[in-house]
């Protein structure tokens, strides 16, 4: 129990749009332990992104409980959630979301700015994170001077720089070709090997195959939750 980093119970998220109510999540219960590598799959509209947003404290559930690192976070205020995101969560997005006019280093520094860290320490930590993803020689490059895979690795370095409890990636390879996707997956595997907890949404079975556990959502519910052969191996 103590190593249950994420525990959600009967999690529901409803969107009310005028007359209509969309049930994006209809009671999801799930536990993710420290150093797990989980892939979330499911058809389009099944609630994967909604779940990631809740797990990442970007969104709050309509009902249900969410315990992150032993703290109930589903009812926190906006600013408290911002602090949790800063300290506990690392996001990797499908579209990278790098600041176009800032260098790789500055992009990676950004979470540390909001953590209130001093410039010098920030630089050092950001540089170390870029080294970790193999971009030590690209620190001063701007996003438009980098390949797609390199951009995503900058984004991964940014997600890691604050040493978050969990790394959340919503279709991290969605905008990348298969060779680059494999590179990114190798990076994820390395991080997982170093003890990082990873939760990743993907459509592609061969990407999901890198994870040790696959959770499949359908219509806002968990359809299946099983370990892959990889985990058995």
């Amino acid at each position: 129990m103590s190593d249950g980093i994420i525990r959600i119970r009967d999690l529901a998220r409803r969107y009310v749009m005028g007359q209509e109510t969309v049930q994006a999540l209809r009671g999801v219960s799930l536990e993710i332990r420290r150093n797990e590598y989980v892939a979330i799959m499911g058809p389009s509209g099944s609630g994967k992104s909604t779940m990631m947003n809740v797990l990442g404290c970007l969104d709050t559930p309509t009902s249900g409980e969410y315990w992150l690192n032993g703290h109930e976070v589903s009812r926190l205020s906006d600013d408290a959630l911002a602090r949790v995101r800063n300290k506990e969560i690392g996001f990797v997005f499908q579209t990278f979301n790098l600041l176009p006019r800032a260098s790789a280093l500055s992009n990676v520094e950004l979470p540390l700015v909001y953590a209130g860290m001093r410039t010098r320490e920030r630089r050092e930590r950001a540089a170390a994170a870029l080294e970790r993803v193999g971009l030590a020689n690209r620190m001063d490059h701007r996003p438009n001077e980098l390949s797609g895979g390199q951009r995503q690795r900058v984004a991964i370095a940014r997600a890691l720089v604050n040493q978050p409890s969990i790394l959340l990636a919503d279709e991290p390879t969605g905008n990348l070709d298969s060779v680059t996707s494999e590179e990114i997956m190798r990076t994820f595997a390395e991080l997982h090997g170093q003890g990082q907890t990873v939760v990743m949404v993907t459509h592609e079975p061969d990407i999901a195959a890198h994870a040790a556990r696959v959770v499949v959502l359908r219509d806002g519910r968990v359809e299946s939750d099983r370990s892959t052969e990889r985990a058995a191996a």
């Binding site: 990442g56 970007l58 911002a82 995101r85 800063n86 300290k87 996001f91 979301n97 979470p111 909001y114």
Partner: protein, 402 residues
């Protein structure tokens, strides 16, 4: 970061801050000019010496219309030679004489000046107004007594009328009357003169009385100089007592004359320039308002353009307050840039105006500080609405924004 995102929209930013630039430039120029005027007046008084003050019929900051004098002026007698004599007898006073300030146009062989001021005074007039005799001489008591039409010209006026010709001995016409030039003097430096009110020279008082027309209410005054070492207030009180006696005023009745000390002149100038300044500030605040609204508009556009960035920052842990500050700082950076530009332009404009009117002054530091503070303040105030919009964005929706 703020500067970087502003740089990309250079033209748009430049247009938006135009209002701020104009507003700040106006305030700066006016502050500089007002300061110039004040310090010139102050210098003039320094030169004349604080020991000098004046007795006049009625103290008014604007010239009175002689045809429509108000009741409280009409009941007062015109200042007279007898008044001057009474003042001269006061022990605290070293000099007192009836003078007139006469508006004239001078003419010499077709060359004419604009309307200028000639002092109708006596042989000691330079002692009171200051200045140096460049050539020739002042008029003598004999010339005064005889009512001779002689004139001591101010050097600029002499140069204007005579060019290279030596004016001494030549005859100029003042409002058509012939006056012989007997001397040229240079007025003390830094005397501020409103345009059209420049000093043209001095003539003996009796000659003015016999030959020139002037309105006695506005023109006549007694120039008084307190004895060295006597405090001006003491001399003023003694003069008041002497004048009340010579005019037979009973105790308890108001004075039928006014004393005008340098302090009062400073006061009037101070009030006048303050009104001027306030009026210009009011005008320029319209420009600042327009600038502020422009900043609000451009920041709104910027916030919309950067919705995803805002979502990202929030995802990475930016609180509402941090997002709010980011955009407030950007807005303030924009208006500060406008303000600094405005300060520079305003100073240049102020210097130009002062150069035209021939005086100079240091620009008060407070006006630059104020302009800087105001321009930052405008950014903060008008940036508040867009910054608040950014701060309140929902991170999920912001990240999904195309």
């Amino acid at each position: 970061m703020a500067a970087a995102s502003l740089r990309t929209n250079k033209l748009r930013s430049a247009l938006t801050i135009l209002g701020v630039v104009i507003g700040v430039a106006t305030v700066m120029a006016v502050a500089s000019i007002v300061q110039g005027i004040r310090s010139q007046i102050f210098n003039a008084i320094e030169v004349a010496g604080p020991q000098v003050f004046y007795v006049i019929r009625f103290f008014s900051s604007v010239p009175l219309n002689p045809d429509r004098l108000p009741y409280e002026v009409r009941i007062r007698p015109i200042v007279s030679p007898e008044d001057a004599v009474a003042v001269r007898r006061v022990p605290q006073v070293s000099y007192a004489a009836l003078w007139a300030q006469v508006n004239v146009r001078l003419e010499y062989e077709g060359e004419r000046t604009q309307m200028m001021i000639v002092y109708a005074a006596d042989d000691r007039f330079m002692e009171i107004v200051g200045g140096t005799l460049l050539s020739g001489r002042l008029f003598t008591r004999g010339e005064q007594a005889a009512g001779d039409r002689v004139i001591v010209l101010e050097s600029d006026v002499a140069r204007h009328l005579f060019g290279r010709v030596d004016p001494i001995g030549e005859v100029v016409r003042a409002n058509g009357k012939a006056f012989r030039v007997i001397g040229v003097y240079q007025q003390p430096e830094n005397i501020f003169q409103p345009p059209g009110q420049a000093m043209a020279g001095a003539i003996p008082y009796p000659a003015a009385r016999e030959n020139l027309h002037y309105d006695e209410t506005n023109a006549l005054f007694i120039a008084v100089k307190a004895r060295t070492g006597v405090p001006v207030p003491e001399a003023r009180d003694a003069v008041t007592v002497a004048l009340r006696r010579v005019r037979n005023l009973r105790p308890g009745t108001p004075n039928t004359f006014d004393l005008m000390t340098q302090d009062q002149i400073l006061d009037v100038v101070g009030k006048f320039t303050t009104y001027f300044f306030v009026a210009m500030v009011a005008l320029s605040s319209v420009a600042l308002l327009v600038g502020g609204i422009g900043v609000m508009a451009i920041m709104m556009v910027s916030v919309t353009d950067r919705t995803r960035e805002i979502g990202l920052r929030k995802a990475l842990g930016a609180t509402r307050r941090e997002v709010l500050w980011q955009f407030l700082v950007e807005a303030a950076t924009l208006t500060l840039a406008g303000g600094l530009l405005g300060i520079v332009l305003g100073l240049l404009a102020g210097e130009a105006v002062k150069a035209v009117f021939g005086f100079h002054s240091a620009v008060p530091l407070w006006s630059a500080v104020l302009a800087t503070v105001v321009s930052i303040g405008i950014g903060l105030i008008f940036g508040l609405v867009p910054a608040n919009r950014a701060a309140r964005m929902d991170p999920v929706e912001a990240l999904r924004h195309e």
